[in-house]
């Protein structure tokens, strides 16, 4: 089954994961079913209920991804009785086959008068926002940077230790994906990208494995339940298993330094989990500085190179129109306050005059007072009309931006390191025979001088020529003006 994460196709198929986009940051993952897999007893079959209405899956299956889906009228009240009844009836025949049979008999959903959502295919980004949290999640800004620095590209093998909630798993499998296993080998011999995920917590490992199957990623992700500090990174048996031959490693563990001893080129026992033909890129993810420092010390001892530590600072930005002005009364979100000093002065002046007029009118009696008030309203209306047609609300005020209200100010320290390929004396000798060391000619048109030197010499030559020319010109009487700016420049 193709994974909706990698090859979603055009339309949402049955039994694939779809994300129901309710509103910003409210995404509901669901697997589309033609049958009532949880036996909830809706007469429309499987239904997803949201605060924006009920959505029978039959209204979504077969629709193009990204479609806006209208809510349906679903009877949520009477199903309780029904469900228990059904359960009792179907107890002996609750196989999916039997459910599918009933699929045809499901009621045709009736569109509700209000409510909708958008159905999108899952991406590692939207999945990260919607996934069930089991542990601290590695968020998009972190994993995007990590995968870029780890050079996790199509065809690579990635080791991930600490599968956790699976956000990094999904992001890394997208990065290394270059074909589903099991098909005909491509014309070119090519390694298929793969993620080898290790998880210490048995239940979490189980959950990740289920998710991988549900998401169509079987064969692309191999989940192993393992304590990597003790047992290392070989697939299958910890001692005699296959090497994953990884070129990129991500350790999201409390004590990464304990796992590093297994990530060497020539371990004392067993095979190395590293790709012998490639540089290995490593990243560890630790929230505390002490952890990072300790990891780095171990890395230095184990000959890792280009060790660097960074933290990713990311925030989202809210964009809003801000409207300030005395004429903004009644506009939602606007602040009624003078916009300029002039406006403030005018307001003070008119307020004073108006108060005075009212005082006078009041003394003249009720009628006059009411007339004065009406007069006031007319004036205001006239002023508004004079300004021309009103600016639509969406275009009012000044466009502003600010950080989202709640920030993640620290996620973790990322420690990156590199382990080059092993290079033996024999390799070196073979290379020396292939590429004779003492042949070295300068490429054509290049002297032994640097560009800077050559430029300097060229300039000197030009000055000399220029001077000679000048001397010549002087002899011929009359100075060439064109030569002047250039000499000045020098």
């Amino acid at each position: 089954m193709p994974s909706p994460f990698l090859t979603p196709g055009v339309n949402a198929g049955a039994d694939t994961l779809a994300l129901l986009h309710l509103r910003r940051d409210q995404i509901m993952p669901t697997i589309l079913r033609t049958y009532d897999d949880q036996n909830e007893g809706y007469s429309e079959g499987k239904v997803s209920n949201t605060r924006f209405g009920s959505f029978p899956h039959s209204t979504m299956i077969g629709q193009p991804w990204g479609s806006q889906i209208a809510a349906s009228k679903v009877d949520t009240g009477s199903r309780g009785r029904k469900a228990t009844k059904r359960k009792a009836d179907d107890l002996d025949e609750s196989t999916p086959g039997a459910d599918e049979e009933t699929a045809a008999s499901f009621k045709q959903p009736v569109t509700a008068s209000s409510g909708f959502l958008h159905m999108t295919y899952p991406t590692p980004e939207s999945w990260t926002l919607s996934l069930p949290h089991r542990t601290q999640v590695v968020y998009t800004p972190d994993y995007s940077y990590i995968l870029h620095r780890l050079r996790a590209r199509p065809g690579c093998t990635v080791i991930e230790a600490g599968a956790g909630s699976g956000s990094f798993t999904h992001a890394s499998v997208r990065a290394v994906f270059n074909g589903y296993p099991g098909g005909e080998p491509a014309t070119k011999k090519q390694r298929l990208g793969k993620v080898c995920s290790f998880e210490f917590h048995e239940q979490r490992a189980l959950r990740v494995r289920e998710e991988i199957t549900d998401h169509g990623l079987d064969g692309l992700v191999e989940v192993t339940h393992r304590d990597v500090y003790e047992d290392g990174f070989l697939l299958g048996d910890p001692k005699t298993g296959r090497s994953p031959q990884a070129s990129a490693i991500f350790l999201d563990l409390p004590a990464p330094w304990l796992a590093l001893k297994h990530l060497v080129r020539n371990p004392e026992s067993g095979e190395s989990p590293l790709d012998p033909n490639s540089t290995v890129y490593l990243c560890t993810f630790s929230p505390c500085l002490e952890q990072a420092e300790r990891t780095i010390r171990t890395m230095r001892k184990l000959s890792w190179l280009n060790i660097s530590m960074v933290e990713v600072q990311h925030n989202r930005i809210d964009v809003k129109r801000e409207r300030v002005g005395l004429d903004a009364e009644g506009v939602r979100g606007a602040t009624v306050f003078p916009r300029t000093v002039d406006e403030a002065v005018n307001k003070l002046r008119t307020d004073e005059q108006r108060a005075k007029r009212f005082r006078l009118a009041h003394m003249d009696g009720e009628e006059q007072f009411a007339a004065a008030k009406d007069d006031e309203k007319e004036k205001a209306a006239a002023a508004a009309a004079a300004q021309g047609p009103p600016v639509p609300v969406y275009n009012m005020g000044r466009l502003t931006h600010r950080s989202e209200p709640e920030l993640r100010t620290h996620t973790s320290y990322l420690v990156f390191a590199i382990l080059p390929r092993d290079w033996t004396e024999e390799d070196e000798q073979r290379c020396r025979q292939k590429w004779l060391s003492d042949i070295a000619e300068l490429p054509e048109g290049q002297s032994g001088k640097s560009n800077k030197q050559m430029k300097r010499e060229f300039k000197a030559l030009r000055i000399k020529e220029e001077q000679e020319k000048k001397a010549q010109a002087k002899q011929d009487a009359g100075v060439e003006p064109a030569a002047n700016p250039e000499t000045k420049e020098l």
Binding site: R23, S113, Q313, H401
Partner: protein
Amino acid sequence: MHSYIRPNQFVAIQLPSDQTRLIQLVPNSLVQLGKYGSFAANQIIGRPFYYTFEIQDTADSDGYKLRVVSATELHAETLIEEAEADGEGDDQETGAGVPMRTNRQIVDDASTQTLTLQEIEELKKEAGGAGKEIVAKLLESHTALDQKTAFSLAKYTLRKRKKYIKRFTVLPLDVSTLANYMLAQRDAGRTMELRDEHIGLLGCLGNVHHSGESTVDALPAVKQNGRYLVVDETGGLVVAAMAERMGILYPHDEEDQEDEEVDDQSATTNVNKGDGEAQNTYPIPPRRRPRPMSADGNTITVVHAYSQPNLSLLKYFGYDTNQPDEKHPLHTHLKSITWLQLLDPTSDPILANQPSVMPAEELAAAKASKRTAYYFKRNRYERVKQVTKETREGGFDGLVVATLLEPPSIMKNLVPLLSGSAPISIYSPTIESLVVLVDLYSTARRTAFINRKRELEAQKNSDEDTIDMSSLFDEFELDPTQILPPTLHRTRVRAWQVLPGRTHPLMTGRGGAEGYLFHAIRVIPTAQNIQAAGTFRKKRKLEATSTPASDRDVEMTS
């Protein structure tokens, strides 16, 4: 991928001064590193990446002049310090033992270094040991060395070493290295000050990945996958970054295994148990000349403003747009189309003037040069026509943008070409243009748009009537119902120095553009009128105030 240094490949050479040089390693040539000396390219070709070499003063018997500096040697000082710190850790904490050195006595002038400039110059000529001797001499002749604190001593040694030691490290030239090189040592504006973190996030938000094309045939009813639209004004850096993610940037990707096999057959068969099937010999397919821009899936379509796209940075990855290498994957997978061809193909000079088809006999009789010209024109016409056709048909899986053009004008023309659920990610060095763009998709504007559209639709009398929507688009530049949920991101990486007892963020860094990303998803609004449900906002007395009807919330999904 980058398993060893290949001949004629571009590599990045990192110098002790932290400068990087991009060098094409032509076999049998000499590589000049300025004051750090020079070496023969042959002496590093075929070797692995990330090794640090020291240029020695005297060559081996076979003329080999480089020495590999081991990791232990590179880390020597820190390792010793760490070991010392472990040993005397208690002393330092209690404050007993040696009194702490401070910088109280240090004189802030150059008089403490007794070596004169002339002497140093002399030393440079004579001293051996690839600069190590000079550094040692300099430290020796420093009169106030014993007054320095551990920190200032470390700094002093490091500074001198950077200046004199003759070492270099060979790094593979990939997108990350190139981006950093352009940022630090070239005109950063040329690549719009793109940093690693932006490139990573741009690709992830754009959901750019390999489409698994080799296995796609096996899947029934799957459309062509992995077609991405790119607008790139960074000289090709964004295209390179996306190509890297899609596995079409490096020409030798799949050869690595092969080469190893030839090199040591026995070793690989043992090691590669995992993909044993793949090791079988396969028949070499008959070589066909691949047509440029002919790939169906896993492609990048670049839309460009001038008649030729500026993708000059791709040359570092072995792809020159002027003389494309037919074996390079970008030759077939990178397509380009001008805005004119996309939006108004009939006025494009290439598409408007179809070269007439010459009958075969006439062609055979024609002069060779004329025949070449004929084929060139015919092929170009066919190619442009094909690319224009498939681009205008749309159905793209993502849009990635880094451009000088106004973002709304791009959205207006390219969003309709995206398939549903396809992501849009736009990079801009500054925020202003993106803020304007987000505002064009604001909830208030979307609500007003929907209401206005309904009003227009209500005017329709019968089903045959077509509604003139032009007044709608006079008011609204973009259709705000086409995307969800527009989001702005800012991301920045902060680097730290981690040394025993001296861990802190780096003191200085590069300023300049902060870099912002816009992200949204293409959605397909339904034709029916749907009222939003589930708004839990307090009801306002709308009639009492002068709030226009358009202000009421119809859509609440952002």
